[in-house]
């Protein structure tokens, strides 16, 4: 009799570790592929993984084998025309089979080894560059679809979750309840003693006994525990589905000549990060792209990142445009509004003050969050100083300088920190 076992439910994903080892080993190549992919992709297109190709020679595992040359005899099937002693020209391109390259073992020949990263793996690598703490990575990737919310108190839990106020309140109630009869008797006894002392003096038997009774009652009171395990209450948290509503994200970019490809790429990474974050929190997200030099215009993503039109810089034009669009299309009672502005900070001198004003009066009151990133290696420009003032007054305005990809995340961290405070 054969033993038949249903294994379908266990041991799934057994290769996960090996797969991860594989990715780990070729991290450098994979990273490169991912950052190439980021350049080519739209901000909202992060649903899928990515194809990665690694040269076969990098990935092959060498073993000793024969090279070309020498004498080789090979038996083949399917002879149609040959007879013994026939001499035939060598086929072009290699001396025909035999101990040939191992590289073809995977059926890929000398081509690259191509495989697909899952979305999760893709994001992992993407974030790796940004140096996110792992915890936040999983949050961003939406693996954790639920969120923890308070839900009253329970009688058991871990010490970390003890609710001190609740526990002590319970303890107090218990002490009052348990002490009440004794307290009443103590009161009586003390009154009795007072009465006795009015007529008798200290040394009488009765007084002494009364004092003893009082003493015993006091002791009894004292033995009621201050806190009992029974009193402990723990904060109860339950999982609740993530919030669902809608959000709009404004991407504002300075396209003056100084914003080169590399700067745009960093801006893009920031926008992707922001998008991912929003996507986790909201059912529906819209993205509005605004580019500006001396005047601002709403464009599609392609034009946003790739158009080469250029001129001087008047940042306020973009802010004004955003304010208009918000008024027309995104009623702030229905929409959560986020914005990120990327610039190298160079602005028309007198315009910066304008920007600060528009920001505070027309945008921030409606925005959940506004992040300004200045992508520059040099000294901060006048816009930066203007915004610094805004930042002092407005908690949901963040600004950061970005020199390299790894700086992108700190701005983001701010965003996370402020999140509870700015909840509408």
């Amino acid at each position: 009799m054969s033993h038949i076992i249903d294994r379908r439910l266990n041991g799934k994903n057994k290769s996960a570790v090996n797969r991860e080892r594989f990715l780990r080993r070729f991290k450098a190549q994979i990273k490169e592929a991912v950052s190439r992919a980021v350049k080519g992709r739209s901000i909202t297109d992060i649903e899928s993984g990515e194809k990665v190709s690694i040269p076969v020679k990098d990935i092959s595992e060498p073993v000793f084998h024969h090279g070309q040359g020498g004498i080789r005899e090979q038996v083949h099937p399917g002879n149609e025309e040959f007879i013994r002693g026939d001499r035939i020209p060598r086929p072009q391109g290699g001396g025909g089979g035999g101990g040939g390259g191992k590289a073809s073992q995977d059926g890929e020949g000398e081509d690259d080894f191509v495989f697909e990263l899952s979305r999760e793996e893709f994001l992992n690598v993407f974030f790796d560059d940004l140096a996110l703490p792992n915890l936040i990575k999983t949050q961003l990737m939406g693996v954790e679809e639920l969120k923890q919310v308070r839900a009253g108190y329970t009688n058991d839990g871990t010490p970390a979750n003890i609710s001190i106020v609740r526990s002590l309140r319970g303890a107090l109630a218990r002490r009052v309840a348990m002490a009440a009869p004794t307290l009443a008797r103590l009161g009586e006894a003390e009154e009795g003693l007072d009465e006795l002392l009015e007529s008798d003096d200290e040394s009488t038997q009765e007084v002494r006994e009364q004092r003893k009774r009082i003493h015993l009652l006091r002791e009894k009171l004292g033995s009621i525990p201050f806190i009992d395990p029974f009193d402990l209450r723990y904060n109860n948290r339950i999982q609740q589905p993530k919030p669902t509503s809608q959000a709009v994200m404004f991407c504002i970019m300075d396209v003056s000549g100084s914003m080169d490809e590399q700067k745009k790429d960093m801006a893009k990474r920031f926008f992707i990060l922001l998008y991912l974050f929003l996507q986790r929190n909201y059912d529906k997200i819209e993205v509005v792209f605004i580019r500006h030099h001396t005047s601002a215009v709403e464009v599609n993503e392609e034009d946003f990142f790739h158009s080469r039109e250029s001129g001087g810089t008047v940042v306020s034009s973009a802010l004004n445009l955003m304010a208009d669009i918000v008024k027309k299309r995104y009623n702030s009672s229905e929409w959560n509004i986020y914005a990120a502005q990327a610039s190298d900070g160079d602005n028309w001198d007198s315009d910066s003050a304008n920007c600060g004003r528009i920001m505070e009066e027309q945008l921030l009151p409606y925005c959940q969050y506004f992040a300004y990133i200045e992508i520059t290696e040099g000294e901060p420009q006048n816009l930066w100083y203007e915004y610094l003032k805004v930042k002092e007054r407005q908690r949901h305005f963040a600004m950061q300088k970005i020199r390299s990809a790894s700086d992108i995340y700190p701005v983001f961290r701010e965003l996370f920190k402020r999140q509870p405070a700015t909840r509408a």
Binding site: K14, S15, R21, E61, G67, G85, E108
Partner: protein
């Protein structure tokens, strides 16, 4: 008789029933001797898992298994390949995987093929009997996996991975071809492992003790040659003699060596093993049909996949990829049966003992006592050579043209037979590389020697790469010399220990 089932859906009850009927035919009727069977129903994904860790249900972690997984998954998802519908493990009980996507017909085919065909081959063939211990392999792999993961915890994943990379590069040179290994259970293995570590280390230290000799006579004497004779098992030599390896590293070398040894018989019996399993699934399922237990539809589906498996594309086909071991093996067993039952005059002349004998006994004998090389040289008949229209091409780099050295005619049968047999000789297929000498008194460098066969040189790029791995294991300079027939060196490779080995 009514058929066991009519639809294509399988159920556990049906699998059980088919297995029972197949068993009646395989074991009761045809007397196949098998290990107990364990049929495991798994998903496609699990099949890919099994596929990529060389088919073993347990194995240690390594990036190259991940690589195989990734590439298997890719071709599977693109529909470039169906998954192997059979993976079967040489263990007792013999584990055969049934993929849930399979139809009932395919499940029956896999049961007959793997659980009775391969299973009886594992149990019967002399190489498997001598070299593998079916009852202990799973245990051993459990031991290996946990030992290696402990090493990873202690010494870091990278350190362990690098060492395994180097061992894998030499895996084909980690087998004993003549010595028979001991059989050990998991308990014994663990108990002895620590003891072994200490003992080995002592031995190595002893080997490398360099106490200056006072005695003048001694100084003049030729230093003893080490190793005394060339060693074919490179990993074994490294495990025992590499001066700088830590005890745990020696254990890892040993693990890879043991796994290599376990798979060694499989590499030598591909044609025989697949042929045998295919012969039996064909025979058994036809018998099921004769008994009225399966429907015409079942047979149509079965025959279609059987035909695909045993198809041999001719050399001119675009997808020609050498001789199909399923086709060759299956035809040979069928042919042996035919020679036993209906011998022609030619058969009687070529196989006087076989012609007219009891086919079942003769087949059993052929399965048990040969490996691919000797099996072909013993049993490949002129009729099959004609059927396959075999011919032999001689490629000599001293000549400007290829030569057809033999074809499927009277003059060519023996020639083709011996040449095809030689093609399956692992010894000549893989370069013959052995440990040649160690400079014991000097720089401790290790020299390997490749003995050329038919003037065939080593592939230089890979040889240099593998040599780096050897260097990492050996810890000192390593050299590889290629010697032709008269012993003169034609190729030389060298890896200096200190510099190149820090990072491969």
């Amino acid at each position: 008789m009514t058929p066991i089932s009519t639809g294509s859906e399988w159920t556990f009850d049906l699998i059980d029933e088919y297995d029972r009927e197949i068993r009646k035919i395989a074991v009761d009727e045809f007397k196949l001797d098998v290990y107990p069977n364990q049929l495991e129903v798994i998903t496609a994904e699990q099949m890919m898992d099994a596929y990529s860790s060389v088919g073993m249900p347990v194995n240690y972690h390594h990036w190259s298994f991940g690589k195989h997984f990734v590439s298997t998954e890719k071709s599977y998802k693109r529909g470039q390949m169906g998954l192997a519908y059979e993976i079967v493990i040489n263990s007792s009980p013999c584990i055969a995987y049934l993929m849930e996507e399979n139809s009932m017909t395919m499940q029956a085919l896999v049961i007959a093929h793997a659980a009775y065909g391969h299973n009886s081959f594992f149990k019967g063939n002399y190489l498997f009997r001598a070299w593998t211990d079916a009852s202990a392999i799973i245990d051993y792999l459990v031991f290996a996996k946990s030992y290696i993961s402990k090493c990873e915890e202690r010494y870091g994943i990278d350190t362990v991975e690098e060492l395994l990379d180097s061992c894998h590069a030499l895996m084909n040179y980690g087998v004993d071809r003549y010595k028979r290994p001991q059989k050990l259970s998991l308990a014994e293995e663990q108990a002895r492992q620590e003891e072994r570590e200490q003992y080995l280390q002592m031995q190595v230290n002893d080997l490398w003790r360099t106490i200056p000799r006072r005695d003048k006579d001694d100084a003049n004497r030729e230093p003893p040659r080490f190793p005394a004779e060339p060693q074919e098992n490179l990993l074994y030599f490294i495990e025992k003699s590499a001066p700088l390896l830590e005890p745990w590293q020696r254990e890892l070398v040993r693990i890879v060596r043991k796994v290599a040894q376990y798979f060694y018989p499989q590499r030598q019996t591909q044609v025989m093993n697949e042929g045998w399993a295919t012969f039996w699934h064909y025979t058994i399922l036809n018998r099921l049909y004769d008994k009225g237990l399966v429907t015409d539809g079942f047979m149509m589906e079965f025959l279609q996949s059987h035909t695909n498996v045993v198809y041999q594309p001719p050399v001119t086909a675009r997808w020609y990829n050498g001789i199909n071991p399923y086709a060759l093996g299956f035809s040979m067993y069928q042919d042996i049966k035919r020679i036993c039952e209906n011998p022609t005059e030619e058969d009687k002349a070529w196989f006087p003992d076989l012609a007219g004998s009891d086919w079942r006994a003769s087949l059993e004998f052929a399965m048990k006592n040969f490996k691919d090389e000797s099996f072909i040289s013993q049993y490949l008949s002129p009729k099959l050579i004609r059927e396959f229209r075999m011919f032999s091409i001689r490629d000599d780099d001293h000549e400007d043209k290829l030569e057809v050295s033999a074809i499927h005619d009277e003059n060519g049968y023996r020639d083709i037979r011996s040449k095809l047999a030689e093609q399956y000789n692992l010894g000549s297929r893989e370069p013959n590389i052995q440990v040649w000498s160690v400079n014991v008194r000097g720089d401790r460098s290790l020299t390997l020697r490749h003995t050329m066969h038919n003037r065939r040189p080593l592939d230089e790029g890979s040889a240099q790469e593998v040599l780096k791995h050897v260097g990492r294991l050996w810890g000192f300079d390593v050299r590889l010399e290629s010697a032709d027939n008269d012993g003169s060196i034609t190729q030389r490779f060298e890896v200096k220990s200190s510099l190149e080995l820090q990072r491969l």
